[in-house]
């Protein structure tokens, strides 16, 4: 059932992002919204779909810095994790935590990663291309390790610590109660949906705004953009921070759903997240408004299909790797090529993609 919802949503969003007549696209958008809002009626566990939305929202964050600005960051998992930890510190009720309501804590869970990203960005955004990629990768690793080793931080004058990250043990959030479960799961789903929708809206606004034009100019040719009077450093840092904020929000929501957070590599700082957001944007179209949404739907639909066909065996990652390879060979620009790019999905285009970049 989840698979049908994902595929249905995918088709609708492809139409919305495509080049059909405006009325058709508007209709598809309405249908898409309807499907999204009504999905909980079709599936008893909206959290599986919420996971898709969270991945999409994190990818929106990457799209801002990697897609629009052209600075492909490979350490986005760090901000995902930082957002998660911020949420945990604010919501938990152990020492060093604040016990705030989740709704209040969520925006803050986006703010902290943004601030940290701004600081890191000032240093790291001087680098370009491969070097920037590695620097962000290194930052991602360093952040996780630092969090793994920090327990409580406080000032000597205060009676209680400022915050406690729990070092290797992590933080456990207060458990929900049985009676709240269904309602809370729904709330999580709609929150994730809202995050993704808001992120896509933000991308659309960005696309048309002066800021967005500036970012795309930087991607096209940074020197020329600087010459034209765009304050490249400020724009880049803002983009990096904005991307980190969105990814951090997604991370915060994920921690609420998990109910606890660990600095483990299998937990909120999973390096696979960094690659997942890039993969999602690649599938959907790097630097496009609908890219993250389309990409997330495709990626999760494929994974659901693989699980359905192959079960939970060892062969699943093999096929997943093969899928990634085929995708990047035949569709390096992602499905965007068929939507905003205006091409028809024919075999010839796929062949042309393959051979276009030959040595």
């Amino acid at each position: 059932m989840n698979l049908a919802i994902l595929v249905g949503g995918l088709i609708l969003s492809l139409v919305v992002a495509g080049r059909s007549a405006v009325t058709v696209r508007r209709g598809a958008l309405v249908a898409l919204l309807g499907l999204a809002l009504g999905a909980p009626l079709l599936t008893p566990n909206p959290l599986t779909l919420a996971a898709v939305a969270i991945a999409g929202a994190a990818a929106v964050g990457w799209n801002i810095i990697g897609g629009f600005t052209g600075y492909a960051a490979f350490g986005q998992a760090a901000f995902f994790g930082l957002g998660g930890y911020t949420m945990a510190v604010l919501v938990a009720r152990s020492t060093g935590s604040y016990g705030l309501p989740a709704g209040l804590a969520l925006p803050l869970a986006g703010l902290v990663p943004a601030l940290i990203a701004a600081l890191i960005g000032l240093v790291v955004l001087r680098l370009r291309g491969h070097y920037f990629a590695i620097a962000t990768l290194g930052v991602g690793i360093a952040v996780r390790e630092l969090v793994n080793n920090v327990d409580c931080v406080g000032l000597p004058s205060l009676s209680r610590p400022l915050f406690c990250l729990g070092a290797a043990g992590g933080i456990i959030l207060p458990p929900l109660r049985r009676s709240e479960v269904a309602a809370t799961n729904l709330t999580f789903y709609f929150a994730a949906l809202g995050l993704l929708a808001g992120g896509t809206l933000a991308l659309a606004l960005l696309h048309r705004s002066k800021f967005g034009y500036g970012l795309r100019a930087i991607r096209a040719n940074e020197e020329a953009a600087a010459v034209m009077g765009i304050q490249t450093t400020r724009f880049k840092v803002l983009a990096f921070a904005a991307g980190a904020a969105l990814t951090g929000l997604a991370g915060g929501l994920q921690v609420l759903i998990n109910g606890s957070v660990l600095p483990d590599q299998s937990s909120i700082f999973d390096p696979y997240r960094s690659l997942e957001v890039i993969l999602i944007c690649l599938i959907g179209g790097v630097g496009t408004v609908w890219g993250p949404l389309i990409g997330a739907l495709v990626l999760y639909a494929v994974q659901e299909a693989l699980t359905g066909l192959l079960g939970s065996g060892d062969w699943r990652p093999v096929f997943f790797g093969a899928f990634v390879i085929l995708l990047i060979l035949f569709l390096p620009r992602g499905l965007q090529q068929f939507t905003t790019g205006g091409g028809r999905p024919t075999w010839r285009i796929l062949w042309r993609n393959l051979t276009a970049n030959r040595v």
Binding site: G66, A72, V123, V124, R126, L127, G129, H130, Y131, A133, I134, A135, L137, G138, V139, I141, A142, V143, R144, E145, L146, N148, N149, L275, I278, L279, L282, V286, D314, W315, R316, P317, V318, F320, G321, A322, F323, V324, I325, L327, I328, L329, P332, L354, T355, A356, N357, R358, V359
Partner: protein, 292 residues
């Protein structure tokens, strides 16, 4: 910093230098970041393991075999697949090689299972004693191999026609093409050489640590760090970067500042240092523009 720590650092550094050498070659000449590098190392390690386990072949003797097999595999990979995307943007090749890494690692998990493997020849604990310092002979041998391979590769690049062709392609592929060099073949050859070195590194690593298919992912990041430290575009730079990394690693691991152990923060500190190097001196210690 005791002599033992220095020795440990140097030996480890030689290995890491070898890991970084192949990576640097592909990055410098082909301008692609090869995330499948760790999978190639894994190939060498498992090959050596099975040769040792089934045929009792000494791991040092299995080096030529793993190098040859990985050379062929690398050639096939580049000529068959990666050559199709050479002119695509950075992200494409990154993800392609990531896809190969996932594919090969999961295939290895299916074929070889997740059991821990290691190659433990009879002489694995033989050691030279210099005062209080222990120098493991097997690791010293591995270091020697790393040095020899680095020297050999450097000499090949500098003194043979093919080596010069490779360097030319790294400097300017179009100009090289105009001069009559078959760029596609050179690309395949370079990747094959990188795979060969990776295979050698894998065979040596099999002697050092126990491993599973998942143990090799870390070498991609280590290779990055080594290449950045030593400088892209320089063969001795990779070795130097490796040695610096090894020394840093071993020193930090056992350092204590004011009662606080730095060892727990080792990875974080090394990568912060890496970022610092990237910002302050992106060319690393020995790097120059282009591949010389």
């Amino acid at each position: 910093m005791s002599l033992q720590v220095v020795v440990n650092g140097l030996l480890l550094g030689g290995m890491l230098g070898l890991v970084g050498l192949g990576f640097s070659l592909v990055w410098g000449i082909l301008n692609i970041v090869n995330l499948a590098h760790s999978a190639l190392i894994m190939g060498g390690a498992y090959l050596t393991f099975y040769l040792f386990d089934r045929l009792q072949l000494d791991p040092f003797l299995s080096l030529p075999i793993s190098m040859a097999v990985l050379f062929a595999a690398g050639y096939a990979l580049q000529a068959g697949v990666i050559n199709w995307v050479m002119r695509a943007p950075l992200l494409v090749t990154f993800v392609l090689t990531f896809g190969f890494e996932t594919l090969f690692t999961s295939l290895a998990r299916v074929l070889f299972t997740g059991d821990g493997r290691a190659v433990t020849p009879a002489y694995n604990a033989a050691a030279l004693l210099v005062g209080d310092t222990v120098i493991n002979v097997m690791k010293l041998g591995a270091f020697g191999v790393a040095l020899a391979l680095t020297a050999g590769l450097g000499a090949f690049m500098r003194y043979t026609r093919t080596g010069n062709a490779i360097r030319a392609v790294g400097m300017d592929a179009d100009a090289a093409r105009l001069m009559g060099i078959d760029v596609a073949r050179i690309y395949a050859l370079t990747y094959a050489l990188s795979a060969m070195v990776a295979g050698a590194a894998g065979s040596l690593l099999a002697m050092w640590y126990s491993f599973t298919p998942d143990s090799f992912g870390i070498y991609n990041i280590r290779a990055f760090a080594v290449v950045v430290l030593g400088g892209l575009g320089s063969v001795p730079g990779a070795l130097l970067g490796g040695v610096v990394f090894g020394l840093l690693d071993q020193t930090i691991a056992s350092a204590t500042i004011g009662g606080f152990q730095l060892g727990a923060l080792k990875e974080a500190l090394i990568f912060l240092a890496l970022v610092a190097v990237l910002v302050v001196r992106p060319n690393g210690l020995l790097g120059k523009e282009g591949y010389r």
